[in-house]
Amino acid sequence: MIYTLVVHAAPYQSAAAGTALRFAKAVLAAGHGIHRVFFYRDGVYNANALAAPPRDEQNIPQQWQQLASEHQLDMVVCIAAAVRRGVLDAGEAKRYEKSSQNLAERFELSGLGQLIEAGLHSDRVITFGGQR
């Protein structure tokens, strides 16, 4: 089965981002495919390269990156939600004249259309951390 995951929650404040990550691992381990992981609302903080949790705690942004490199995951961050919250790639940092970029590698900024498109190509769309 082809899945799309939608992540609405930032790591650390709630369990939703970690749950999404473990769900993604379980889906892949069971032999299913993931068309896309889409990060929306506070979920964009999963793509913050500047997150520096203590070494003895899980580093969720890094784990997403690792999973993406192992399985060629397509990880898209909603550009409007991200720019509003200060998660920028090089292009957006330049456009808004900000001093730095902080979008972690393997994540990509794009529009909400990528969520809709993913839904059209997936058997299941699962939302994590909605309704907050």
Binding site: Y40, R41, L112, G113, I116, G119, V125, T127
Partner: protein, 120 residues
């Protein structure tokens, strides 16, 4: 191919969080893809439909304008539940746009008949 359908469910009031605006953004994106989009506002979500919101006082953009633009995007029907209306003592016809109020059975049917359900 049959047009795929999307149901966007939001349970949050208009300005307590970014949920209302960001749910609308999903609905509008679905409409841009020419999908059949329905919006279901439950619990505090039904408060988004209150007319005459004066959100400028708290520095927020007004939702009324965006909601009344829904028909322009072919999002013709907004739904809520009888329970949500009762929770806030509201009548559907006093809301803008006026939602269709569903009982529990109809809610189940609505969710079941959509290809994609997104909660915000």
């Amino acid at each position: 191919m049959k047009r795929k359908s999307v149901l966007v469910i939001c349970r949050k009031g208009p300005y307590g969080s970014s949920a209302a605006r960001e749910a609308l953004d999903i609905a509008l994106s679905g409409a841009v893809f020419e999908l059949s989009v329905s919006l279901l506002l439950l619990d505090d979500g039904v408060l988004q439909l209150l007319p005459g919101q004066n959100s400028g006082l708290i520095g927020e953009k007004n939702l009324n304008a965006m909601l009344s633009a829904l028909p322009l995007y072919d999002i013709e029907q907004v739904y809520t539940s009888l329970h949500s209306l009762a929770l806030h003592g509201l009548e559907a016809q006093r809301l803008e746009p006026a939602p269709r109020a569903l009982d529990n059975q109809e809610l189940q049917t609505l969710i079941k008949c959509h290809d994609m359900v997104l909660t915000v």
